[in-house]
């Protein structure tokens, strides 16, 4: 059984989808990710889909679900590197993924997550200076 690895990077979880997702795999990812969020207390989830070239409505819904579930568990989700064809397909399917943050690539996604958590988080003053520098 194939499994999509979920990597932990400090406060964030990093998921890179390197193969075309089929339904079973997507469902497993959803379950694993929620488990991981709860286990690690992660504040952000970054999903890299830059090599995914095919999506269907099910995939779109799973991504939306993951974002909503993480949100309830106080973690932001950022989807990065979506291909033009995938974006057009999702829009045509009527899935604008409103609850999901997006970024062009992993670097900008990480930056966005850091900013989000600083804005929402309590340790804003302590770490604010540092995050701002690294963003530049």
């Amino acid at each position: 059984m194939e499994k999509i690895p979920i990597l932990r990077m400090g406060q964030f979880l990093l998921v890179t989808i390197q193969i075309d997702l089929y339904d079973r795999l997507a469902l497993n990812l959803e379950a694993d990710l929620v488990q991981m969020v709860s286990k690690t207390g992660a504040r952000g989830v970054l999903i890299d889909i830059s090599v995914v070239s095919i999506v269907d409505s099910f995939m779109g819904r799973i991504i939306g679900n993951i974002a909503n579930m993480s949100k309830i568990m106080d973690a932001e989700t950022v989807v990065v590197g979506m291909q033009p064809a995938v974006a057009i397909t999702l829009i045509e399917l009527g899935l604008p993924l409103t609850g999901v943050h997006t970024a062009l690539d992993v670097e900008r996604g990480m930056e966005l997550l850091r900013k989000k958590i600083l804005v929402d988080g309590e340790e804003q003053d302590a770490d604010g200076e540092y995050a701002y520098d690294s963003a530049e």
Binding site: V79, A87, I91, L97, L104
Partner: protein, 295 residues
Amino acid sequence: MHKFLFMKLETAKMLQKKKKQIIDLWMKNQLADSALREDLMSNDDLRAQSEELVDALLKKLTDDNLSNVDSADFEDIYEILGGVSITRARQGFSPRETGLYIYSLKDALLTILQQEFKNDPVQLYDISMKVSKLIDSFGIVTFETYIKGREEVILRQTDEITEISTPVIRVWDGILALPIIGTLDSARTQVVMENLLQEIVNTGSSIAILDISGVPAVDSLVAQHLIKTVSATRLMGAECIISGIRPEIAQTVVHLGIDLSNVVTKATLASALKYAYSILQLEVRKKQTTLVKSN
């Protein structure tokens, strides 16, 4: 009966013998027409074109196929005619000029036949009808290919317009602008959207400005397309600003009840650019020292 057949056999041969005369007469007919376009085609070219057709026609013409316009013998001629009328369509000849080209051949042929058969009205009538029918069928082919040629020209222009009219401009590092000129329909939106998204990937830009000051009218469908483009851009991880919203367009959008509240809209491209700069934390300033010196 035998004599009649013999006479008929003569017709094709007779015409072949009179080839020079036919061509001269045809050319005379064509040159006599006031609508002759010497600017599009020189008389020598016209003569060469006409000779080629008469040559091919007389070579293939027998008394058997004269009465059968669908005969396979005429395929070459249809091909030549097709080539001639497509070139004429591309060169900008009018339908009338193209029609006169082929129908003046009929006049030439009928004149020759009249001279030849002036003592035999029955025969003349019979042959004239057949020649008439044959040239009419050529005429139909000519028009068909002429219109096909014109349609090709129109199709090519449509493609070109779609291609040209959707340039994605890189106005700043990380900022793309896409001025839309002309009405947005589904097919064009698709091209616009694909170009824009591809360019976002290629340049890694995080802001795209969609300028619609060149769009004459916005209806609910166009607005739908715009919203789709904005959402797709957002999914890619970039932000999309719509600029160039004229007062009339703002009126229509509100009257149609279209919700653009999730979309950043600006009145001019300049203000959209300013907004983009503020997102990227850039600022534009006057270079003060040099200004003082030059004044």
